[in-house]
Symmetry: D2
Subunit: 302 residues, 4 copies
């Protein structure tokens, strides 16, 4: 399965009054995202507030999502849980609901005990038990998680059902290490929208980008320009979208992405508590960054 391209880690809109899942909003966003040549959608990732969702909401997301994602695009679902068995179960549910692959963050609560040997066993059991390919997920380090060592990833890359990793640490050196030390064909994806170009140069094949919620067309164009050798164009696009990452996704996280979605005419809304919506000052920044990047509601082909 080819992950090369841009995947959108879909933000999850909630109803402003009740706080329940807003599937109408999600569908509306999906239709618009699908007009761009992105590789696919990731549900139940960090940007999608997966840890704040109920089980039934996750079902509704992936079932409702699959209906709007054409067969030739990927639906990837985050399935990592603290126990090995719950993780496998989530993978099976996702597969049954039409996921093409799963994105598996490591169990982290008992961090002190999560040695490489423990994590290797965990991921091996998950990869053995998942009906669809597994993508390892190196969660951003500003979250409460652990750091998957390159040696461990190298070892896991030899499992036939482990097809890649999404590395959200944002360190180019580490991306290079991953590319170099994993088996040929193992697909490295990154998460930093300000370093996409550089990451592709180093050997990443694609990305799951928070900014792709906001600039799916530009993100996909950057990737295509790079892969087709139009490096000048890729560079210009990178310059244009880098601030969207640095000053919105990086600076404000989920709340920033959602405020920007609102500004662009998508359905964003507030994140679910305990996450907080952006305050007015934050929104002003978001609006300014979007304007400067030339991104606006009307700029969208839809």
């Amino acid at each position: 399965m080819e992950l090369n391209g841009i995947l959108i880690p879909a933000a999850t809109p909630f109803d402003p009054v009740t706080g329940e899942l807003d599937l109408v909003g999600l569908r509306s966003n999906l239709r618009r995202w699908m007009e761009h040549p992105v590789r696919g959608i990731v549900f139940c990732g960090s940007t999608g507030e997966a840890v704040l969702l109920d089980d039934d909401e996750r079902f509704a997301l992936i079932e409702g999502g699959r209906e709007l994602i054409p067969e030739d695009r990927l639906m990837v679902v985050g399935t990592g849980a603290e126990s090995t068995r719950a993780t496998i179960r989530n993978c099976r549910v996702a597969a049954g609901c039409g996921a093409d692959a799963v994105l598996v963050q490591p169990p982290a609560f008992y961090k002190g005990q999560m040695t490489d040997a423990v994590l290797r066993d965990h991921y091996t059991a998950v990869a053995d038990g998942s009906p669809v390919p597994v993508v390892l997920y190196q969660v951003p380090l500003r979250f409460s998680t652990l750091d998957l060592g390159t040696g461990l990833v190298s070892e896991l890359s030899t499992h036939e059902n482990v097809i890649g990793i999404k590395d959200s640490r944002g360190d180019l050196g580490l991306v290079g290490d991953l590319v170099e030390r994993t088996r040929k064909g193992f697909q490295v994806l990154v998460g930093n929208g300000a370093r996409l170009y550089a990451s592709l140069e180093i050997g990443a094949v694609g990305a799951i980008l928070g900014i792709a919620n906001l600039v799916p067309g530009e993100s996909a164009a950057l990737h295509r320009a790079f892969t087709e050798g139009r490096t000048g164009e890729a560079g210009r696009l990178q310059e244009r979208v880098a601030p969207v990452h640095d000053q919105i996704v990086g600076a404000f996280g989920v709340a920033g992405v959602k405020a920007a979605l609102d500004r662009l005419g998508y359905r964003g809304g507030d994140p679910r508590a305990p996450l907080r919506p952006l305050d007015d000052a934050g929104r002003t920044v978001v609006h300014a960054v979007l304007a400067q990047a030339g991104v606006q509601a009307g700029s969208d082909p839809a």
Copy 2:
């Protein structure tokens, strides 16, 4: 509600063959624990592998547990989840199943965004929404969590439905700070079985002790000796049980507690994956520590 005394954060036994919840084992343990003058039981804590349990298993635990815990003992249930609404829901379920209080760990996944203001709002909403009193839970720092500031705890202690904190950091200075800077009547519990005596001297009123799974009688006796002014006896008991904490609970975590339970004739068994059971070397240490502390299967009144 008086939390003063020793609460046992019950380990959760699983069936050795299937890995499913072993309620027979749990009941057997509960009957034996209840023969000692402990203040109560905590379900769904870190020692109980709460994050590795399914929803239905948590139900089975607390419903099955309540049947064996007399009305004059406390049943406290861990209910902290990542979202505010799921945490409140868990509190309501626990209350409906007969919990006397709930133990609430902070949401930690989006750690970088969990400022004091965010956590204050979260805990206030939880305390407002919980039908039973809330005990804050400062998770051990070797786990993947965040550190609740004393200022925040001080502020939260003024909420009438927040009656105490369990501090598992193991730092006596921080315990002293908590006692000093929270409202009168706010109950500070500790989690370190090697520093129980010292913690009580500083003003803690009780403890939720991993070692109380193994030495419930000694733990309760230590607490009583201290509160009745028999400090020499309390000191001797502290010396005796300190290694059980340091070399079993502290050194090996859940797997250590479970191996020790097995040794003492309780139902321990293996932790659930990805946690690993103790290897032979570990078991040898556990057995030696128990022997040296004079704890053995036969020493129990049962």
Copy 3:
């Protein structure tokens, strides 16, 4: 606990596009219903499509509902499941979320085996295990259920935590039997909006009325007029609302209630599949019946 009065078995609105729970709509309905002197609300009953809801949706309903139902009104929650243990669990969850009482339909799947002795054991265990009072629920016989014998109800009425029954069979003779053969103080509620007056005369103390979704004011006024001895007024109100029961609730079931809610400016919408929305001919009937009964969007105090 006094059940005397009219309870509304709240219809559950769903989003027209996604089919997900429409909590905004429910809240809006609740605010309007609460302007009338009804005794309370029943969630998760047959009219509320309880069997078509997910677990998380039931949580959302009762948590969201409780916020809008004042303390002096009742919130009753349907909790009957096929297994005894699941039924008890549901009662505990409902109680934890603020239910004042639970409405328990019998397990019916293994109908051939549900003898009186089996049902007595089931209900006794449920009444023992429920933290809040139990109301037995005799489901309408056009549904797939079983018929609770009067002898069984009589026996169950002696349990101190079984405070009443809702009988939806619509047979006045059976209501009389129930009143006569149950312990003094046992509260008989009916479900037939065309025979409320007659039922009250026979000894019923109140009702859970599908029509109270549509004519809460008239239903409550009828009950009050009867209890205050104004029988002429009660009779006139009964004549007025009887067709609303016979030609909407009785004839079309949930779909009829929802179409009528739409007509009256409440949020009704379509029932969830496999239930079907009313077709145009059905809607014409509903509109005509409402008009003839003098009920219209503008007639409401809101």
Copy 4:
């Protein structure tokens, strides 16, 4: 997918003390059943007490079951729920966990409204949404359910993802109607162990037999003898096992099957409440019937 042969609707053993799922017992039964040339196993059917299981238990059953059921045997899972969407979701979960096909009973609660048109829409949506083939399930009429008309089944048999029906009504005429009026290749299974021979003669291709829990070898041999034209042998086997159906499965239902399992050295145990275990008189009958049929613990190849 060929359903021809005998499928065992696996009884679900529970722990005698706690009432929780006994997966050890299930595995032990599965190993023994798999020694016989049965076509496969059905989980979450009526004999498996599906309606009395929690969601997590269903997961545990089918995940644990799949591990012991070789790839060349079928695992079929009951997935029928009251709502169309929950039914589809269950099908997807089952598929993700390795089910080869799903067995879908009709929604029955709102029986009065379940017209053929409504049921056709329901089953069509389920067949469209299920990743694995659908087998219709005509539940025994002594349960609380509805009767699928032959016209409806005939129509549904044209859907490419509806591959057969299990008819548990026990009426040979109806079986004949089904065979005749459904599309060629549509597979009719029966559930009555006393009329297997006759059903095969009429055109049924196999059966999901409660008695196959007890006499898997004899049931499979009967089917094979018939299909290989050894009708005399098939007839003798039918005579031998008919009383096992009539006097155990038919007379006592799940409790009878479980008591017989216990007698034969399988893990049976008590059904879950409100179902009741067999009393002593019942057990005496069960033992006598097994003895007369020449079935005993020791007669098994295990």
